[in-house]
Symmetry: C2
Subunit: 538 residues, 2 copies
């Protein structure tokens, strides 16, 4: 008898708990194997992510390796390249060797979650920090410390103010927890370690509603949360949305411009591109399933977790995208999948949720529990920690996080950066009209190619400024300073919103010395511009 395969795509709470439940329910010699595909070999314990920023909790303690939770499941640590429901095969992207891999399936479980996607918001992809996974949290920590170190030695007050402004967009649980944790961290380390007045630090939370967490909590708790954040020194910009971002600013829907070098956006969660590509019924990007977690119109395709729109039996409501729902869905799905195989009757999903918890910093939180029990302040915070500690998988992790939390009561946060020599590579940048890409006299560290928009090259001499040229899509600038390793000989200012390709010095050197067409092109351009500069009056 050939082994049949249940293939689970995605290793978040939904996917891992489905596999776990299947390991328990499927008899050992059932002739079925469970295979799970995930791009990481761990799953993230989301509620602890903000504590990576402050360094309260060890990085490895915010994640759990999937292999240590699933003993009988086969794990592929790969990206999924495509899903073919008709041919019943999933293809995986290459790993170390350049070959893709085909995985046929008999049952497919979609547990792909959702993704951060900044489509339709110019500049966010380039200049905003998402906050969804461990890498995001580490990058944010590094950046925040980098900005503090720079502010500590910056003498220009305007620039210093820009460096010390931190903007978080989104007043849901995620945005509130990041803003609160960041605010606590900044105020503690600045006071203790930096030659910076804590009053110079601004943490701004931008939220479209009139109160934070208004969609998640009852009015009283939402009002309480709003007040606690304000009291702890966070500036709330309510009734506003983020519109775009540039390297120097967050731009709001009323065109208000907040000069900052640190913008965190927790707002947009989009359906996974693989789900988007599938020909199955969806509502606002989430896969429609019946009360048994089966994708509508399919007999061997299931969906679970944040990517699925799961009806709660006996109500006209759908599950919110939270871990407590995902894990309960996983249990029901596994049961129904086994029942399908055994041709037994299925059971409907009817969990209504145990409550909601959100941390607000300063050892305070809000909690909305069944039986209309509502908690706020320290008791809610204590409950928050207890619940999440309890949910941590494994005794080692429980011990380590418990100890970290205990020590955190007595010791100040650590401010060592986790610099990882990240290659900047070839990047992209977005600027709004009127902003400067660089100014005359700045140090030249990159070459730019305009992919959209118009810029002016402006020369300042004897107190007057003169437009030397207007450049458009396809034009290149900034090459002079790179070829001759000098300060910028003119400023570049945007006439319209502008999208740029940025090639940094390191990459540039390699390309210029090896791609002859590239080099010749640049040298010609540089010569032309030098000639033009010389012709122009002094």
């Amino acid at each position: 008898m050939a082994t049949k395969r249940i293939l689970i795509l995605g290793g978040g709470f939904a996917g891992v708990y489905t596999a776990r439940a299947l390991e328990k329910s499927l008899p050992k010699n059932s002739g079925w194997e469970v295979v799970l595909v995930n791009r990481e070999n761990y799953f993230v314990f989301q509620p602890l992510l903000p504590e990576i920023v402050s360094g309260n909790v060890g990085i490895l303690d915010t994640v759990s390796s999937i292999r240590s939770l699933l003993r009988r499941t086969r794990l592929y640590v790969r990206e999924v390249e495509s899903i073919d429901l008709e041919r019943q095969v999933v293809s995986l992207a290459p790993g170390i060797y350049p070959r893709s891999l085909q995985l046929p399936f008999d049952h497919l479980v979609l547990a792909l979650g959702n993704v951060t996607d900044f489509r339709g918001m110019p500049g966010l992809h380039e200049h905003a920090f998402p906050f969804k996974n461990v890498a995001d949290a580490i990058h944010l920590r590094n950046h925040v410390i980098h900005v503090l170190e720079e502010a500590a030695v910056e003498s220009d007050l305007q620039l210093r103010r820009e460096l010390l402004t931190f903007v978080v967009a989104g007043g849901g649980f995620s945005g509130v927890e990041v803003a609160a944790e960041l605010n606590d961290f900044l105020r503690k380390v600045v006071k203790r370690h930096y030659p910076i007045d804590p009053r110079e630090v601004r943490v701004v939370l931008v939220h479209s509603g009139q109160r934070v967490l208004e969609r998640e909590l009852v009015e009283r708790l939402s009002e309480y949360a709003t007040r606690v954040l304000r009291d702890s020194g966070i500036e709330l910009l309510l009734g506003r949305r983020l519109k775009s971002a540039t390297p120097q600013a967050a731009v709001l829907d009323n065109d208000q411009r907040i000069a900052t070098r640190t913008l965190v956006s927790t707002v947009p969660s989009f359906p996974h591109p693989l789900i988007e590509a599938l020909d199955i019924p969806k509502q606002r990007g989430r896969v429609e399933v019946d009360e048994f977690l089966r994708v509508k119109g399919r007999t061997n395709v299931w969906a679970v977790g944040d990517c699925a729109l799961v009806p709660i039996a006996g109500t006209d409501q759908f599950c919110p995208p939270t871990a407590q729902h995902a894990t309960r869905q996983a249990a029901v799905l596994a049961k129904n999948l086994c029942a399908t195989i055994a041709q037994a009757p299925l059971v409907p999903f009817q969990f209504r949720g145990l409550g909601k918890l959100g941390a607000l910093g300063h050892h305070r939180a809000v909690a909305e529990l069944p039986l209309k029990i509502r908690l706020s302040g320290f008791p809610a915070w204590f409950l928050w920690r207890t619940v999440y500690w309890w949910k941590l998988p494994g005794l080692l992790r429980k011990t380590r996080v418990g100890i970290s939390w205990f020590l955190d009561l007595f010791f100040p946060p650590d401010l060592a950066q986790l610099k990882l020599n990240l290659s900047q590579g070839v990047g992209q940048a977005h600027y709004e009209a009127g902003e400067y890409v660089f100014r005359q006299g700045d140090w030249g560290d990159a070459l730019y190619i305009i992919s959209q928009g118009e810029v002016e090259v402006v020369k300042e001499e004897n107190g007057t400024s003169r437009v030397l040229a207007t450049l458009r899509s396809g034009d290149m600038f900034g090459e002079l300073a790179l070829l001759h390793a000098a300060a910028r000989s003119a400023s570049v200012r945007c006439r319209t919103p502008v999208d740029l390709i940025v090639i940094r010095r390191s990459e540039f050197g390699m390309l210029a010395s090896n791609v002859s067409a590239f080099r010749e092109n640049l040298e010609r351009l540089a010569a032309e511009r030098l000639a033009r500069d010389r012709q122009s009056p002094n």
Copy 2:
């Protein structure tokens, strides 16, 4: 009275302890300020680095933030760009804003350590993991876990063997500790979590001597260390040196080729490029100082730590590059610097070292102490942990590392990867003659430009292979698969050792769609090659 400045370059043990000693010795209103420049805001506790690979110790616990150790020193977290001894000014590279910064000094302390530099060893820069800082350790951990995950799903036995071979070059303390820790980690996690037979795992230590640690320790201990490593399953390749590296192999000086995807090189420590550029007396790259730590021939320039060649007064010997010497040098330097300012007599450096300690994995170590006391095995290991624990700066770090070490006795190592979405960017690769860059049918994920050497394009059809073309320096290949998103239509094999520029799919897309010269060039090339392929006989 204008403030005078002591400028310290480098924030390792040498630099930080010099600043610390100066903070204590310089009177508060002396009119002197101490400034320290370092590229990171932390200093690394080197002996704990190998434990990042196994995840025993939290990443942040292997480093200490400089600000929390130095309360009165001004810290600049920047790269040093250049040193001008005559004008007495150091210039710093730009931070977030593109401007460099000039720091004049009255006294200069060089504490720049040394750097990893693979010059003269083809392919090591591209394909070997250095092991010097936190980023190196994290990258190595990520890579090792990546390789295990790939081996777990690889069915080709030859490729699987290649993935499960780990090569460490260098049998000094650093190489021995990395090899031992890696070996312990691999054997524990493979046995527990992977569908891999532990006997498939090979850890190879390549060392030029006949025993490991033979230069560092007396014969008996060096022999003991060699035996312990061998007993714990490490293959020792003695009397051999690493010559070059490719993406698929480590090549030794006898042209032996070890097929591997993981090569760690702890061998080459070069003088810092800034030291190289200075016109001061040096021996094998280290700065010559007198017994007072003053650079020979200078009155206001000092050198300390690994970048300095420090004579031990009363002997004809020089200090080895270790932390215990660096910290003692720092104290003497600070004293002499203050004495110089106060025009008091200087004191010579005469510390002879307290002993040597090296961990060998499996709770064993070697120790060579004064009074000819020699320890090995568990007692030495216990001493090793005690000494380094004692030396850890700060109570919080002591507590956390102590607890981690305690837990590590009872729990298996964690195997979650720390995937950080590192951009690969535009990279470089080195291949030896006869190796394949890619094979017909492989998935196309990069474009290559030859910067040195010759390759053959080989087409395999109907069981025979035919050389389509020979390409040389400046030529480009691999563009077909990228332009048309398909499998490679031919293999590329190296005729000579080859250096390549690698442009990955992500970067490539951006460049190709924006740099018109680049795109036109590629399309012309692709068209020519397609035409040539069609002309050729089937």
